[in-house]
């Protein structure tokens, strides 16, 4: 075995801490190593050429690149070696950046020792790597988009316009998402009715888009290129083929329920169309509140009134199966329930509302027709306090992250409030004003001048009711004085949180969420649109809260990813999959339970485990669960791991 080791400096990232000369000297002594060489940036063109040249010159049959995480450049280095005829699976990465130089910055000697061990262990592994060929599988050239907000709409349109079929699944009766609830959008003050509804109609009429509103994805099996998806089409109790969207039913319905679309600011009926511009513009019966459906008899006023005869109380939910090659998750975000913020009287005082509720109050097409009134008594609030970072940037009590969009929408709301109530006054409590977008800083400056709002730099401590007013206790850190404001209305810029049900959906999709529930990308910097499961992409705020501009860009990016995946009829997959030693396997089924990808089954005839290599993601969970090492991962064989461990564990 002739192994070549290439040590990357990564500028000063590695060489700044590790002693490269020492590494070279020690690694050269290791059995099987015939060549060691270092270079400042191994991933650069000259770096890669250097490796190619040495493979040829020194007749290397295995290569270890000691550099950064394999998630960054493993593919690059493998392709590079393949171009001069070395099997790509005879190339391994020894991660001496994330594992040695970065975490042990202040301890160069120990870090160097550790790096040497990591490299030697990797050399041991690569020595027994088997040369492999990629697996090739056919693909279904259709895409599933989950979530019909602006991200899902954009992604669907991009893919459909490229000629591929799209299934767009939305759990609410209408697409449109959060954007459809906004009053006007910063920094241009466009109304969503003007800019989003045309796209919604386009979706509804596009020949390549199958719109499944009021539906949920309940099961996903299969793998990249060949997913089988079960979609639950919930019962609307209205035949949408007949419904004309005339809304006569809602007029006669006697049951009033708090409106989800208006975030509780108004009421809807038990049979309803979410909003006038809804797509599809069809009525839905809410089975939890409909008298007929709750009691099984009586009422039925809607059925009597409907001119199209569309009401059908007997309708049942249906499960539909669809085949797709790629999935885009565009499930968006939610806002934190203000009642969690007890110190601010959220949920306790009617006039302490969330910013999303205030959006509905400000919206010209909203329940108040754009007239600004407060929920408790319908009076016009003359003093409004905006509280930013309500639940954000607070690792101690709520969410540690910055919710990113609040600074801008609060400024916008302050301006719209001033426009609506010229003799009113707005106070804005902020910690920092963040305006990171095109035209955002200019918009903020416009608000400062035009809204005449009092910006107070400080975080509000507490809000309670005193003498009929909301007493807001805060501070102005710039003057160094405590602040007390008696407000008529308080608007909390509550933290953005992952959308409800996302964890369950992630389980169905076998993708990961982070500690808060945002969908986890494959790599924050380099693969922000992909999940760790190949063929599943993320679009928009499901990955992390972002504004409309960024959401639309992100969605188009995800669409491009899906299109590029499905641009061919067959795709290649990593051959690093599990193998079963049939002699040893006793068929206990531990691996079946351990496999998240449903790639293993026990053959009923032979009573031993069988791997579906197309489904296997090579995660190794089965290997860890097998008591007798009968199941092992190609090129991560237990024997290789032991060799590695015995080097790492040596004193």
């Amino acid at each position: 075995m002739r192994v070549g080791v290439f040590v990357c400096h990564c500028g000063r990232n590695i060489a700044g801490t590790l002693n490269i000369e020492k590494i070279k000297e020690e690694v050269a002594k290791h059995s099987g190593v015939v060549h060691v060489e270092d270079y400042i940036f191994m991933c650069s063109d000259p770096g890669q050429k250097l490796i190619r040249d040495r493979i040829k010159e020194k007749n290397l049959d295995a290569v270890v690149v000691s550099a950064c995480s394999p998630s960054l450049h493993e593919k690059t280095f493998r392709n590079n070696a393949a171009s001069v005829g070395l099997n790509p699976y005879k190339v391994e990465i020894a991660n001496i950046r994330e594992w040695a130089s970065w975490p042990h910055e202040g301890k160069p000697e120990e870090a160097t020792e550790k790096a040497i061990k990591i490299i030697k262990a990797t050399v041991e592994k690569v020595k027994s790597n088997i040369p492999l060929e990629p697996l090739s599988v056919p693909v279904t050239r259709k895409v599933l988009v989950i979530g019909g907000g602006i991200a899902g709409i954009q992604a669907s349109l991009d893919i459909a316009n490229a000629g591929l079929e799209v299934y767009l699944v939305e759990k609410k009766p209408s697409i449109g998402g959060k954007m459809a609830q906004f009053s006007e959008t910063f920094p241009t003050l466009d109304c969503p009715q003007c800019i989003e509804t045309p796209k919604m109609t386009e979706v509804a009429n596009h020949p390549n888009i199958h719109l499944y509103a009021y539906s949920e994805v309940v099961d996903v099996s299969g793998f990249v290129g060949n997913f089988k998806v079960k979609v639950k089409r919930k019962a609307t109790y209205v035949d949408w083929n007949k419904c004309t969207g005339c809304s006569e039913c809602a007029k006669v319905c006697p049951v009033k329920v708090s409106s989800e679309y208006d975030v509780g600011v108004s009421q809807r009926k038990a049979i309803y169309i979410m909003f006038p511009q809804a797509v599809p513009n069809k009525a839905t019966i809410d089975p939890e509140h409909c008298l007929r459906l709750v009691y099984g008899k009586g009422c039925g006023l809607c059925a009597k009134t409907c001119p199209a005869g569309a009401i059908n109380f007997e309708q049942k939910e249906k499960i539909e199966e669809i085949d797709v090659g790629a999935i885009i998750v565009a499930t968006g975000f939610d806002v934190m329930d203000p009642s969690l913020l007890t110190e601010y009287g959220g949920g306790k005082y009617k006039d302490v509302i969330s910013a999303l509720q205030f959006e509905r109050i400000l919206a010209p097409s909203g329940p108040t027709g754009g007239k600004v009134v407060r929920p408790s008594d319908g009076k016009e609030p003359k003093t409004v306090v905006f509280v930013q970072c309500a639940g954000s940037r607070d690792p101690e009590h709520y969410m540690p992250y910055c919710s990113k969009v609040c600074c801008m929408y609060t400024a916008k709301q302050a301006l719209l409030y001033k426009h609506a109530v010229p003799n009113g006054h707005a106070y804005v409590f902020y910690i920092d004003v963040r305006t990171d977008g095109k035209g955002y800083e200019e918009f903020y400056e416009r608000v400062l001048r035009e809204a005449e709002a009092t910006y107070l730099r400080g975080k509000v401590a507490e809000i309670y009711k005193e003498d009929g007013k909301l007493k807001v206790l805060g501070v102005d850190t710039l003057t160094g004085k405590g602040v007390e404001i008696n407000a008529d209305l308080v608007v909390l810029a509550t933290a953005a949180v992952p959308s409800e049900g996302i964890k369950e959906l992630a389980k169905v999709l076998r993708i990961q969420t982070d500690e808060y529930g945002w969908l986890k990308e494959a790599h924050l910097k380099l693969r922000p649109l992909e999940t760790a499961t190949s063929g599943i992409f993320i679009a928009g705020a499901a990955q992390f809260i972002r504004d409309i501009t960024d959401t639309v860009s992100h969605a188009s990016g995800a669409a491009a990813k899906a299109l590029s995946l499905l641009s061919r009829n067959r795709i290649e997959r990593e051959p690093l999959v599990a193998e079963v030693n049939e002699e040893i396997c006793s068929g206990c089924g531990n691996c079946v339970e351990a496999c998240t990808y449903q790639a293993i089954k026990i053959d009923p005839e032979t009573n031993i485990a069988k791997i579906n290599t197309a489904l296997c993601e090579g995660c190794g969970a089965c290997q860890a669960s097998c008591p007798s090492a009968a199941i092992q991962l190609t090129n991560s064989y237990k024997k290789q791991l032991f060799e590695m461990i015995s080097i790492l564990a040596k004193e």
């Binding site: 040893i584 006793s586 206990c588 089924g589 339970e593 007798s628």
Partner: protein, 379 residues
């Protein structure tokens, strides 16, 4: 619980000979009435002091069956069931007699697809305690009757110091997952308890009268409580004795790596043990390599690694049968280690091995949250 008394004649109360006869007659009836075609049971061979395991097919052979014998001679019954049903379910209806720990391990084996219950009529036998094979053998050779000794201890209700440690601390004197139980605890006459509809059907088929029996429940509960106290106390001491690497090494000092403990373990089912495979790190090339590199190396036989490795593999499924300890030629008190460790491991996953077929073993299905929950519950 419901079930049927085998002898209603009050004269038979506690008559040891009658107990044996009753249970054998019951097995005979199973065969006569064709409820099953085969019975797998401990069996008396007059030439051998220890009972054997045999499959009997003829009703008249049932008189030699000895299902209540207070010993597990070598391998547990569940291992035999696994051997004859693992590949495919058994073709003819078979009744199998199991001590509670054997029945529990059978449940575990079914979960791991190492046994198949189709066509099987499982009959648990109450176990008040059993003797070490060597003690049992000695007793028989010296003319003492172990079964009578056990029944007497049961009647006096004070246990027998000679019982195996696992038995003295056993919380499962009555099997929970079998179709039927042969009840000797808390009854004067032999009581066949039906746990499943299949069990009830069986009793009806052989013409027995189904009755309620609450008294037995109470007696069993008391016995388990009493044993529980003992078990807690003993386990505490055991764990103290074994705390720390040094003490563990000392504990296994006499181990000769014969792997008998593994061979008899009812839930050790791998075709090839990892620790005996060529994958195991301590193979001769390694020794040579290390020796070349280091000049000299200490003996590396991986004794502790084997035992701890086994503990990791089986502690979630251990049924506390203590057969490992019985099988050890070096008399290492293995139950001291695996008993308490397994109990604590299972407790932390809120899992009890052998209890329910539908419960999945935590070894593959646990989530991190599970542990948090049980910790809270434990508080």
């Amino acid at each position: 619980m419901e079930g049927a008394f085998l002898e209603s004649n009050p004269e038979n109360k506690g008559n040891i000979k009658k107990i044996k006869e009753s249970v054998n007659r019951f097995l005979q009836q199973l065969l006569e009435k064709k409820v099953v075609e085969w019975v797998l049971t401990p069996y008396i061979n007059p030439e051998n002091p220890l009972p054997e395991r045999r499959i009997i097919t003829k009703p008249e052979e049932a008189i030699k069956a000895d299902p209540l014998t207070p010993v597990i001679p070598g391998f547990p019954m569940s291992t035999f069931v696994s051997e004859i049903t693992r590949e495919k379910p058994i073709s003819k209806p078979l009744a199998v007699l199991l001590k509670p720990c054997e029945a529990a391990s059978l449940v575990e084996l079914v979960k791991f697809r190492q046994a198949n219950l189709d066509n099987l009529l499982t009959i648990g036998v109450d176990c008040y305690g059993s003797y070490h094979v060597l003690d049992f053998k000695k007793m028989v050779e010296e003319g003492e009757k172990p079964f009578e000794r056990m029944i007497n201890a049961l009647k006096n209700n004070k246990g027998d110091e000679l019982f195996r440690t696992a038995c003295k601390t056993c919380l499962k004197p009555v099997a929970e997952n079998t179709d039927l139980n042969v009840g000797i605890i808390g009854v004067n006459n032999l009581f066949i308890q039906a746990n499943t509809s299949k069990g009830t059907e069986t009793l009806k088929k052989i013409g027995l009268k189904i009755v309620e029996n609450k008294e037995r429940d109470q007696k069993i509960k008391e016995l388990i409580e009493e044993r529980g106290e003992k078990r807690k106390g003993m386990f505490k001491e055991f764990l103290k004795e074994l705390h720390g690497l040094h003490k563990l090494n000392k504990f296994f000092e006499d181990c000769i790596n014969c792997h008998n403990c593994m061979e008899v373990c009812p839930i050790c089912f791998c075709k090839e043990c990892f620790f005996e495979s060529e994958l195991h790190p301590y193979v001769y090339e390694k020794y040579i390599k290390f020796t070349i590199e280091e000049g000299t190396i200490q003996e590396l036989e991986g004794k502790l690694q084997f035992h701890l490795g086994r503990l990791i593999h089986m502690s979630t499924s251990c049924v506390s049968c203590g057969l490992c300890e019985q099988a050890c030629p070096q008399e290492i008190k293995l139950f001291k280690l695996c008993g308490p460790v397994s109990e604590n491991v299972q407790k932390s996953f809120n899992y009890r091995a052998g209890e329910k077929l539908e419960e999945t073993p935590p070894i593959t299905t646990f989530y991190e949250e599970d542990l948090g929950l049980t910790e809270k519950q434990a508080e």
